[in-house]
């Protein structure tokens, strides 16, 4: 099963390599990873998408916590949360296809961020399914390049007081 976990770490050099080394050394999967500073500049957040059974996830959680630089580990699985990825898609255009592509972009609430005589570059954010759906629809027109970020996630706030 896939899990999105959020890891708060001290913002020091070498921390990324400790985390990725832990995953490779113990045979855990990393499907995606994104890192950036938090509100507190001494702390970074890593959002890691990984997979494994309960036993593996328990070990991932404990092993991460064992690293001196790790402050907190949070698994979003089973929690109400928002997940987002961002992708840039460079797609071929022709006089005939332009309008159709723009309407797809519109439907997905994506936007065209760069235009050349032969290509559009489209920016889309959303969860993984949404981005995959867009790329599937664009594929017949000829996708020249895709760049995707890793997934980021945030817990939803409780709706009642």
């Amino acid at each position: 099963m896939r899990h999105t976990i959020s890891v708060l770490v001290t913002n020091e050099f070498g921390v990324l390599s400790r985390i990725s080394g832990l995953f490779s050394g113990r045979g855990f999967n990393i499907e995606s990873l994104s890192v950036a500073e938090t509100l507190d500049p001494h702390v970074s957040r890593m959002t890691i998408v990984t997979s494994g059974d309960d036993k593996v996830l328990e070990q991932i959680n404990k092993q991460l916590n064992k690293l001196i630089n790790v402050i907190k580990v949070y698994d979003f699985t089973g929690e109400d949360h928002i997940e987002r990825e961002l992708a840039l898609v460079k797609v071929n255009i022709t006089a005939d296809s332009r309008a159709e592509i723009l309407s797809i972009v519109d439907i997905f609430r994506a936007k065209v961020v760069d235009v050349s005589p032969r290509t559009y570059t489209i920016e889309i954010t959303g969860d993984e399914e949404k981005i995959s759906a867009l790329t599937e629809l664009l594929r017949p027109f000829g996708i020249k390049e895709i760049v995707r970020t890793g997934r980021i996630a945030m817990a939803r706030s409780p709706k009642q007081k």
Binding site: R18, G25, K55, Q63, N65, I68
Partner: protein, 567 residues
């Protein structure tokens, strides 16, 4: 205000940490440290190879219970420490390794004697540091000792570039206390879990204690003995746990696992309540994991949460320091009278244990005129020292025989590379232990193969007049590998014959040590007596043993514990 350079500051930090002995080898990048050592009260032990320094610091730490400290230079000096660091890491030994590094401006430039030692040792240290600025050095040294010695102990490496060592600052302000937000080891066991565990243990009909190195590391031997005695629970230890429970105690069943006793392995296979204390269910202990302790509810006490339910799923985990938790448990036990009743209730189980103990006890057959049996040498050593010695081992058959045939009543009296299984560990570790305890008898039970992996440290032992006893069980083969070839590879003895070897007696002589040899069983006692009497330099005792002696019982890898090959 007087200005001090980084090297002087470093040594002052070490003194603040209570360090009086370091093990090391100089080189370009650490010249400033060596210059400062020249005027320092710290005693420096000059080794002959950096790996030796790390194993010595390791042996020193294991024997003394205080962190070992190593100083080596950059590049090859640093990379030579890696096996020693990994050895300490696997066995959770507190240690601080200080490596020199090329000046910060040259880092990453493939400078002379540059190696990314922080990168290399990341997976085999508890934590490591590159010091980029002298002002961070005191805090980093403080943190290093704190991390190395607290929680589950382990080695910490501090890499210091040369320009940091030569930079100057004012008086040292060494922090008294330190807290690390992201590192807060848990010592107290959860009271609810302790209560649940005690209920289970008191209701068990066939309980067994399985104790590991954690008992030794947390100095909990007394607490463990009290716990087992009060409840009347038969006890086995892992290789690392030997000495954590008295080897001559009535409740002791010997070591369990691949070369464990028949009694311990049968007890663990048949127990209904396994109490794992500071142990980690290593594959050499469990054998086939699905059939390990199949009838047991398992209680697991360990300070490291990652050890719990890693290999075997546990019914009642207790995260905490073994000593603290055992204290709490003993405190919560019923009254003496009730305990007596309880022990009476276990008499059937105890009788069964005793039957297993006698049916296939550890044994060997020493023909008076035959070849020397290695077990005989070890038993004689035990007899002559009355068990009053610190024993280290190399790795292989020598290690297993030393575990089986010497009885360890005290913690920190048996020092061995259990997790990593590092050949070449035992001799330098014995040197380290001898430095920690100059008056004690320290002996390494060695094989002729392992010993040669760090034989150069003989010069170190001679230089510091250390009377380390090197008991060579010389069979002229790489015995344990050869035993596996005999059993599992059709006796195809590929590359395990090392009969081309130095004459150890002459070698001892060449180094300025004492060399002795026994070829017949009748000579064993005399050689040991002579060797034990030497007080001012190391002794190499070359025992020419039976080449075909094996280590038994043996559970073939991947088999359940009750499927032992017996003698």
């Amino acid at each position: 205000m007087t200005k001090k350079n980084g090297a002087v500051i470093l040594l002052e930090c070490l003194i603040k940490e209570g360090v009086d002995t370091v093990f090391g080898f100089p080189g370009g990048a650490v010249l400033p440290i060596y210059d400062a050592l020249y005027d320092s009260p710290i005693k420096h032990i000059l080794v002959r190879h950096e790996q030796g320094a790390v194993h010595m610091a390791d042996g020193y730490a294991r024997a003394l219970g205080r962190p070992g400290v190593v100083i080596v230079t950059s590049g090859p000096g640093a990379t030579n420490t890696v096996t020693g660091i990994a050895t300490a890491y696997m066995d959770s030994i507190p240690m601080v390794v200080i490596t020199g590094q090329v000046p910060t401006a040259l880092i990453g430039n493939d400078a002379f004697q540059e190696a990314d030692i922080v990168g290399i040792t990341r997976p085999c240290t508890k934590h490591n540091y590159l010091v980029k600025d002298l002002k961070d050095l005191p805090r980093i040294i403080k943190e290093s000792f704190y991390i190395a010695t607290t929680g589950r102990p382990g080695p910490v490496l501090v890499d210091i570039p040369k320009d940091v060592l030569t930079a100057v600052m004012g008086e040292l302000k060494y922090p008294d206390k330190i807290t690390i937000e992201s590192y807060q080891p848990n010592y107290k066991g959860h009271p609810g879990q302790i209560k649940k565990a005690l209920q289970l243990i008191l209701s068990a009909k066939r309980p067994v204690v399985y104790a590991g190195g954690g008992v030794v590391l947390s100095n909990a031997a007394q607490e463990l003995t009290a716990f087992a005695e009060k409840l009347g629970i038969p006890t086995t230890t892992t290789l690392m746990g030997l000495g954590g429970f008295p080897g001559t105690h009535d409740l002791f069943m010997g070591m369990l696992g691949m070369h464990g006793t028949f009694c311990a392995n049968m007890a663990v296979t048949n127990t209904d309540c396994l109490i794992a204390i500071g142990a980690r269910f290593d594959d050499r202990v469990t054998g086939k994991i699905d059939e390990f302790a199949p009838y047991a509810d398992i209680v697991h006490i360990d300070i490291d949460p990652t050890s719990i339910s890693k290999n075997v799923s546990v019914d009642i985990p207790i995260v905490g320091d073994v000593k603290e938790v055992l204290k709490e448990m003993v405190k919560a036990l019923p009254q003496a009278k009730a305990l007596k009743e309880h022990r009476k209730g276990l008499s059937e189980w105890q009788a069964q244990i005793n039957e297993w103990r006698t049916t296939h006890a550890l044994s060997y057959n020493q023909e008076p005129n035959g070849k020397i049996k290695p077990q005989f040498v070890i038993e004689k050593l035990y007899e002559l020292t009355k068990g009053n010695a610190i024993i280290t081992t190399e790795v292989g058959q020598n290690q297993m025989w030393a575990a089986q045939f010497f009885k360890y009543d005290k913690p920190r009296s048996f020092l061995t590379s259990g997790g990593l299984g590092t050949m070449g560990f035992g001799f330098p570790a014995a040197i380290g232990a001898q430095i920690a305890f100059p008056k004690s008898t320290v002996a390494v039970i060695a094989g002729d193969g392992s010993l040669q992996m760090n034989i150069q440290e003989l010069a170190t032992a001679v230089q510091y007049k250390l009377p380390v006893k090197v008991v060579i069980l010389n069979n002229m083969v790489l015995g344990m590998v050869r035993q596996w070839q005999e059993l599992f590879f059709d006796k195809r003895y590929s590359h395990t014959c090392i009969s081309v070897a130095p004459d150890f007696v002459k070698l001892a002589d060449a180094y300025g040590a004492v060399g002795l040899r026994a070829k017949k069983p009748s000579e064993v006692e005399q050689v040991l007596k002579e060797g034990l009497a030497v007080k001012d330099r190391p002794v190499l005792m070359d025992f020419r043993i039976d080449q075909f002696e094996g280590v038994y019982p043996m559970v073939p890898a991947g088999q359940p514990l009750n499927k032992m090959l017996l003698v």
